[in-house]
């Protein structure tokens, strides 16, 4: 899922001040941001309360089921049309895709209430680790399900680098070296890593990505 954290409150206030907004509608997201405890109903209500305490009027709030789904967010915004019409601005507690989807769905100034961090795993409730760069050229088949592009700070496909010491990472010294983990898991599974991984194909990660499965051939 997409891991987010709350945006610095002073930046949010500065964004609202820039357009002299006093009335605000707050939009959350029922997916990743809810699981990350940054944009579910609880956090949306807390944010609304904080805005009121700072003298803003909160015209209403909603938690989109999947805020990055354009039609779903349009539908959600229609349910709250008058509250949104009354607002000077919409503050979105969702990832960057959720913010942009809301901005496409609602003809009002839309501001981000969160910072989007990474695509990761929920290790335990409240503990998240980055796992995927969405690079479009997956090597997990060869690396025992451990992504070196993401979990090695240098993103080396073949490693370890010379900084590894007693199996630990040079950069994140409290973490085990990704390449040591890969080799151990391969060995545990009776698999051998005998070949050098080829240089990555970065053309698959060119921005912006787009996929259309309605068309023959998928996407780019």
């Amino acid at each position: 899922m997409i891991i987010t954290r709350p945006r610095d409150w002073d930046r949010i206030k500065a964004n609202l001040s820039d357009i002299a907004a006093r009335r605000v509608f707050v939009m959350g997201c029922g997916q990743c941001a809810a699981v990350a405890h940054t944009g579910g109903e609880k956090e949306v209500l807390e944010t609304a309360e904080r805005l009121r305490a700072e003298g803003y009027e909160v015209t209403g709030w909603a938690v989109g089921e999947v805020t990055c789904h354009l039609n779903g967010t349009k539908l959600e915004s229609r349910k709250h049309r008058s509250e949104i019409d009354d607002a000077d601005a919409v503050l979105v507690l969702a990832c960057g895709a959720g913010v942009q989807t809301t901005a496409d769905a609602i003809a009002k100034p839309v501001f981000p209430g969160l910072e989007s961090l990474f695509l990761g795993t929920v290790i335990r409730n409240g503990i998240f680790e980055e796992r995927c760069q969405t690079c479009g050229d997956c090597v997990l088949d060869k690396t025992a399900g451990i992504c070196p592009v993401t979990t090695c700070p240098k993103g080396l496909l073949n490693g370890p680098c010379g900084g590894m010491w007693n199996g630990m990472c040079e950069v994140l010294t409290d973490r085990e070296c990704t390449h040591v983990r890969i080799q151990r898991r391969l060995a545990e599974q009776g698999r051998t890593r005998n070949s050098t991984l080829e240089p990555k194909d970065f053309s698959t990660a060119l921005k912006p990505g787009g996929v259309n499965i309605r068309q023959q051939g998928g996407g780019r």
Partner: protein
């Protein structure tokens, strides 16, 4: 053919040293260092933005020391350039008469003087070695013919003391398969581990030049342990330097002992004098 290669392949024990290009355009200090080391060394490594900190390019500095009369080992890290730039610099290196290349990953930018830099790492050192090998065979990494190829003597780094050893060994074998013909090691303190590494690579037909670090003071011990990735000075060595009445002299004696041991084990020695360039002669002839 590179002299380093000629000597190693003829079985001669080689000596390499290391110089850092300046942080600026004034080459005087580097040349002074070259002049001290050159009489004792067969070739000198020229570092590439070492410690992830800004220096004049290894390419230009390698050419400068070649003109001063000593063979350079042009170091190339994967940190600062993408695959186009790395290949372009390899071609440039050959055209400038640089015949030895040492390919390394490079320290993380956060360790250096531009901590906000993007670490490129488009390639890793194994992939870069393999590309240099391809250029020796007249083609770029896309398999296209080059108009004039290269004939580099390709080297890489080896870490005989870094555990787990099975992971290190797999890495060494991978580098050899990619085209690496000689290794320069991280500083060696445990000769049994050096022997283990040399025994492991003997059947692969590659050469090992073992690193010796001259630790002239207790402060240098702390510096190495804190700042140099992939290296820790063991307690028995640190204690010897810390308790010496003349730490610099003790460091020279220790390094000379290490060189004597290495002569029995490896194909050469790589001396990193860390400021004691003037003592390299004594370290090498064993009178330290």
């Amino acid at each position: 053919m590179s002299r380093l290669r000629e000597l190693l392949e003829s079985g001669e024990f080689v000596v390499t040293g290391e110089v850092a290009p300046p942080r600026g355009t004034d080459l005087a200090d580097m040349h002074a260092s070259v002049d001290l080391l050159a009489p004792h060394c067969h070739a000198l490594n020229v570092t590439d933005n070492q410690g992830a900190s800004l220096h004049l390019s290894s390419l230009a500095a390698s050419r400068a020391i070649l003109e001063r009369g000593i063979e350079p080992i042009f170091q190339q890290t994967c940190r600062d350039r993408n695959r186009l730039a790395l290949q372009s610099d390899l071609l440039a290196a050959w055209s400038l008469g640089l015949e030895n290349v040492l390919v390394v990953t490079g320290d993380d930018p956060r360790a250096g003087d531009h901590p906000h830099a993007k670490g490129v790492f488009d390639l890793d050192s194994t992939q870069l070695a393999s590309i240099a090998l391809g250029m020796n065979e007249g083609r770029d990494m896309m398999g296209r013919d080059l108009k004039g190829g290269t004939d580099f003597y390709i080297g890489a780094a080896m870490f005989p003391e870094a555990e787990p050893w099975d992971v290190q060994l797999a890495r060494i074998e991978q580098k050899v398969a990619a085209g690496v013909r000689f290794f320069q090691t991280q500083a060696i303190f445990d000769m049994d581990k050096l022997q283990r590494a040399v025994d492991a690579v003997r059947p692969l037909g590659v050469k090992v030049i073992a690193g010796v670090l001259v630790i002239r003071s207790p402060r240098v011990v702390d510096f190495v342990n804190r700042n140099l990735a992939g290296l820790m000075v063991p307690d028995h060595v640190a204690d010897r330097i810390r308790s010496a009445s003349d730490p610099a002299e003790e460091a020279v004696r220790l390094a000379a002992e290490q060189v004597r041991d290495i002569r029995e084990i490896a194909d050469g020695v790589h001396v990193m004098p860390l400021g004691l360039d003037t003592e390299v002669g004594r370290i090498l002839d064993g009178t330290g």
